[in-house]
């Protein structure tokens, strides 16, 4: 029964995109509309351009920006989150700042970073890192402060060193929350990559889409959008895979608690 349910869900997940794409193909084919070109043209652009030389010239630079910015922010945010999560004072002192940045719509920072950092790769990576920082930071803090005090008392009782406590008690205890922050930030990273490439860039997927729009190469534009969707999906899947490995215990514990 349960097994069957799972199979149905997976089948649905695969079938739905196919149905939608087929519907689009059927709908667009006879129309020959300029803005909604036939599926064949979009796929041709996908194959010829995106899976051609653009893999190196546009897709890779975008992926690199995302991964660099995201990793940088993950390292900084988890480190900073530890410092703030462990000190009530530091937490109270920085709370307004963290809340402010978290509430700010991320693209609002774009003009500022262009002014201050320019439009190069470094500026894009730093913008992505800056925007990704706050969700991870906030979740790390919440994860650390949310750890059951009994666990930390147990570590103290049994003479665990401060280092051992941080590494084997605080970090694993906060990890479920940290991953929640990472998931939020990863989608923000993709958004910021695209926006920054729209506004000022000489390569990248966002740049490619924008350029295609300017040249009225609508199939190319559409295929760029599809590439973005696929990229976002793959990145998210990769993160979920890592998470399910690292947090196998957490899933089990949550199921057991139900």
């Amino acid at each position: 029964m349960k097994r069957n349910g799972r199979t149905v869900l997976i089948a649905l997940e695969i079938a739905t995109p196919f149905v939608l794409v087929t519907l689009y193909a059927l709908w667009a084919a006879p129309r020959d509309s300029f803005f909604f070109p036939p599926l064949g043209e979009i796929l041709a652009a996908l194959r010829a351009d995106w899976f051609g030389e653009r893999i190196l010239s546009d897709i890779w630079p975008s992926i690199r920006r995302i991964l660099l910015g995201f990793s940088l922010s993950a390292i900084l945010a988890v480190g900073l989150g530890f410092a703030l999560g462990l000190s009530r004072r530091a937490r109270i002192a920085t709370a307004p700042l963290v809340e402010f940045f978290r509430a700010l719509p991320p693209p609002a920072l774009l003009p500022l970073t262009i002014l201050v950092l320019g439009v190069g790769d470094v500026a894009k990576v730093l913008l992505i890192a800056l925007v990704c920082l706050f969700p991870i930071l906030q979740n790390t803090i919440a994860g650390i402060t949310g750890i059951d005090p009994t666990l930390r008392e147990t570590a103290r009782m049994y003479g665990i060193t401060r280092r051992g406590e941080l590494l084997h008690v605080v970090l694993p205890g906060a990890l479920p929350a940290i991953f929640a922050g990472l998931r939020t930030s990863l989608s923000l990273a993709v958004i910021m990559m695209v926006i920054s490439e729209f506004v000022a860039a000489s390569n990248g997927i966002g740049f490619g889409i924008w350029q295609a729009k300017r040249l009225f190469d609508i199939p190319l534009m559409w295929s760029g959008i599809i590439i973005l969707g696929i990229l976002g999906y793959i990145l998210n899947m990769a993160l979920l895979q890592i998470e399910s490995r690292v947090l196998a215990w957490h899933r089990g514990a949550r199921k057991a608690a139900e």
């Binding site: 009782m157 049994y158 003479g159 057991a256």
Partner: protein, 253 residues
């Protein structure tokens, strides 16, 4: 020797423990019994060095206890919350031993397995805490404490949230462990029968602001049995005595 000297503890304006003085002789089993909220957990946390007292002090072999000493292990009241959910039963028991230089890998393994065997959990060694029943979780916490090889074992209402059958089993398990490893045991409970059944001595606490109401020697034979001991006239006398004392009633008969 472990001594609690005029110990008091406040929480803000609330005086949880007024003043408690009591000493714990080596190898003796002392039960501390008192009504809910009278400060039993607070007392144990002060004894173990997890919580600084507001007044007085705790000394171990004459030295004041300011942080958890190597000689003590504590089994927490919320056992399920004191097991690390990301560690297997084996790792939970082995975790406090990771800095033991006197143990090589084989000796450490043996110690962990022996401790788990002593509480009857050999089969669950590879499982996670959330895959265990309440009684098994509690036994894991006990195994962790005995693997630590403490001189003094502190237990905070360890059997409060398991069913009656499991509870009786665990009580006998503790008595067996106590015979096998020589340890000073300080056992907190709010169950009067349990305190008399297990202890060599029962310390009765009053309601807050808490003081020691009475210290009773338990004149029962060292070997205890769930059925015969609980029918022993001495057992019955002691339990009604403690009961009357806690309920603040004059003893009848």
């Amino acid at each position: 020797m472990l001594a609690v000297e005029q110990l008091g503890r406040d929480f803000g304006a609330v005086r949880a423990i007024a003043e408690i003085s009591v000493t714990f002789e080596p190898d003796r089993f002392t039960c501390i019994v008192g009504p809910s909220g009278c400060g039993k957990t607070t007392l144990l946390k002060c004894i173990s060095g997890l919580l600084p007292p507001s007044r007085g002090r705790v000394t171990l072999h004459g030295r004041p206890v300011t942080r958890p000493p190597r000689e003590m292990a504590l089994v927490f009241q919320d056992y399920s919350r004191s097991l690390f959910p990301w560690m297997t039963v084996r790792d939970n028991v082995a975790f406090p031993l990771r800095k033991r230089r006197d143990l090589d890998a084989a000796a450490l393994r043996e110690l962990v397995e022996e401790s788990l065997a002593a509480v009857g959990l050999s089969d669950a060694i590879g499982r996670y805490p959330w895959q265990l029943s309440g009684g098994m979780q509690q036994r894991t916490a006990i195994a962790r404490a005995i693997a630590y090889q403490p001189e003094i074992l502190l237990m905070d209402e360890p059997f409060a949230s398991v069913d009656a059958q499991t509870r009786a089993d665990l009580e006998d398990l503790i008595l067996a462990i106590r015979r096998r490893y020589s340890m000073t045991v300080v056992f907190v409970t709010h169950d009067i029968d349990e305190s008399v059944y297990l202890g060599d001595r029962v310390v009765v606490l009053g309601p807050p602001p808490t003081q020691v109401k009475e210290v009773l020697e338990v004149g029962l034979p060292a070997e205890r049995d769930q059925i015969t001991t609980k029918k022993d006239p001495e057992f019955l006398r002691l339990r009604s005595h403690v009961f009357a004392n806690i309920m603040n009633r004059e003893e009848q008969g």
